[in-house]
């Protein structure tokens, strides 16, 4: 019987982290930005049916980069967690912070358990508040750590570069069209600095809009509305954007 090789815990963890990071880097990055009326999710996604963003609860949205089957599993777990909690207590008792904690614990346990392979996912959990100050955005990397973000956040393979691009340009109180334009610009920059065009039909866009009269604030932006917004963002490059609303 051969004795197993000794691997130091540091080395084991580093290997697992690298494995997860490589998996995540294979997918495309996505960004989540605050704008005046809420939070917008923007990503490149050629699929119409397999979403990267979705609704978890009234004010809480979910975004994920990495392996689809793994984050889909986490997403459904989150929906079940939120619905059960809202049913047992009250709808107000479902919070992004609570959900982010559960995800962090789940990812953390999987990451450090030798029996399981680490999840190749990076998540964002966002909750839109009554005011921009009340907005919450949490980023959850593969290892179960949890980062409280403000303004803008990018996850996925190219996240660091996109983040620094966004950090320099994102401002509070941007209109939806401006935020969307900035997000698309950030996403269309490749690792080597060249820009490429992302056509509208390859974009997946969703918002948590605090001005929506419904209790459920999550909404996908598709088709004509998306085209109009992209156009509006492009036309008002530097000038003050018109306050015209994009509501249907």
């Amino acid at each position: 019987m051969s004795t197993p090789f000794y691997v130091s815990p540091q080395q084991a963890m580093a290997d697992r982290a690298e494995y997860a990071r490589k998996g995540i880097a294979r997918g495309r990055s996505l960004v989540v930005l605050q704008y005046a009326d809420g939070i917008v999710f923007v990503g490149e996604n050629p699929s119409r049916a397999l979403h990267k963003f979705s609704e978890i609860y009234d004010r809480i949205g979910f975004a994920a980069a990495g392996k689809y089957n793994e984050y889909e599993n986490l997403r459904i777990g989150g929906v079940r967690y939120a619905d059960l909690r809202g049913y047992t207590y009250d709808r107000d008792d479902v919070t992004a912070r609570g959900l982010a904690n559960v995800y962090a614990q789940t990812l953390g346990t999987i990451f450090s358990s030798a029996a399981e392979k680490p999840y190749e996912v990076e998540l964002v959990v966002a909750e839109v508040g009554e005011t921009p100050e009340g907005d919450q955005i949490y980023r959850l990397p593969h290892d179960g750590s949890i980062v409280d973000e403000h303004g803008s956040v990018a996850v996925g393979g190219n996240a660091e570069q996109i983040s620094s691009y966004l950090d320099q340009r994102h401002q509070d109180g941007m209109s939806l069209a401006e935020a969307l334009k900035l997000a698309v610009q950030a996403l269309s920059r490749d690792t080597n600095g060249t820009e490429r065009e992302i056509p509208a039909e390859r974009l997946e866009v969703a918002v948590l809009d605090r001005t929506r009269p419904q209790q459920r604030k999550f909404k996908r932006i598709v088709g004509r509305q998306l085209a109009r917004l992209l156009e509006a963002g492009g036309a008002t490059t530097e000038a003050e954007s018109s306050t015209e609303d994009e509501d249907e």
Partner: protein, 281 residues
């Protein structure tokens, strides 16, 4: 374990197990004691006294459906509540009105709303109207044990069928039996009188305004002859809840809108207490 939904521990395995898109199925696997139908009932003598909701009416019109309810809850011969709400949105395109034991009915509606919302979030698509109606059937059936003890819930379900592009109404009995109604329907203690009124006033070509007026006329007639149904309460400014579901989704009439219709009906009833007359052939 119950504790896991409260503490910040890892999601229990049940949460991450691929399976049904139904919240009720998830609950019955994970925490069955939370389902109303799974509750153990102690043996009781006679009927349990609890507030009862009374009359719900619904009418279709080209392009949609109207669902309305009075505001009274009774316990025996007492008025338990004057401003109870018995008509609720189920989701964007449907609504449910409930007659029967108020406490159980409200709980059932809450679970039903959640069931539809959960499915929509997990699947990324809405259930068909037929699917929603069947789901409600299952829930009533699971309440049969309590219905036998006098705690029955009898809802009326109405919605806009996006595929067929029309409003539809489904009525239920205590055993979960479901039947689609054409044109108009009523449930609850005053339903006999409301149905009579609607039978005489209903036409297939009603406008939305006529349909909302019709349901309030019907509720007035129900309140006129059934002591458990409450009429428009002008002194306390409590008016029936009227909801309209069309292609544009669910809308509840504001208090001003429903009070305006109710007041104009009251005024005409002062002249003619039995209400509008149908032509005799």
């Amino acid at each position: 374990m119950e504790a896991n939904t409260r503490s910040t521990g890892r999601l229990p395995a049940a949460f991450l197990t691929p399976g049904s898109s139904s919240f009720m199925d998830f609950l019955s696997d994970h925490q069955p004691e939370l389902l109303p139908g799974k509750r153990q009932l102690p043996p009781t003598q006679g009927v349990i006294e609890a507030p009862h909701g009374t009359t719900i009416v619904a009418v279709t019109f080209p392009g949609g459906v109207v669902l309305a309810g009075d505001r009274r809850a009774t316990m025996g011969n007492m008025i338990a509540q004057r401003d109870i709400e018995k008509v609720f949105p189920a989701d964007e395109y449907s609504a449910v009105g409930i007659a029967g034991t108020a406490g159980l009915a409200v709980e059932m509606v809450k679970l039903f709303q959640l069931e539809l919302e959960h499915f929509e979030k997990v699947e990324g698509a809405q259930l068909s109207l037929e699917g929603k109606a069947n789901r409600l059937s299952t829930m009533i059936r699971s309440n049969l044990g309590m219905a036998m003890q006098g705690l029955a819930v009898v809802p009326l379900f109405a919605g806009y069928d996006v595929d067929r592009e029309k409003g539809r109404i489904f009525s239920y009995d205590v055993t979960g039996g479901r039947s689609e109604e054409s044109g108009y329907a009523a449930t609850g203690s005053g339903s006999i009188f409301a149905r009579g009124a609607m039978k005489k006033l209903f036409r297939a070509d009603l406008t939305e305004d006529e349909a909302t007026t019709l349901v309030i006329q019907a509720l007035y007639d129900a309140a006129d002859d059934d002591s458990a149904t409450g009429g428009p309460d002008v002194a306390r400014r409590i008016y029936p809840i009227v909801t309209v579901i069309t292609e544009d989704g669910f809308r509840r009439l504001t208090d001003e809108e429903s009070s305006e219709i109710a007041r104009s009906i009251l005024e005409r009833r002062l002249e003619q207490p039995d209400g509008p007359r149908a032509a005799l052939l």
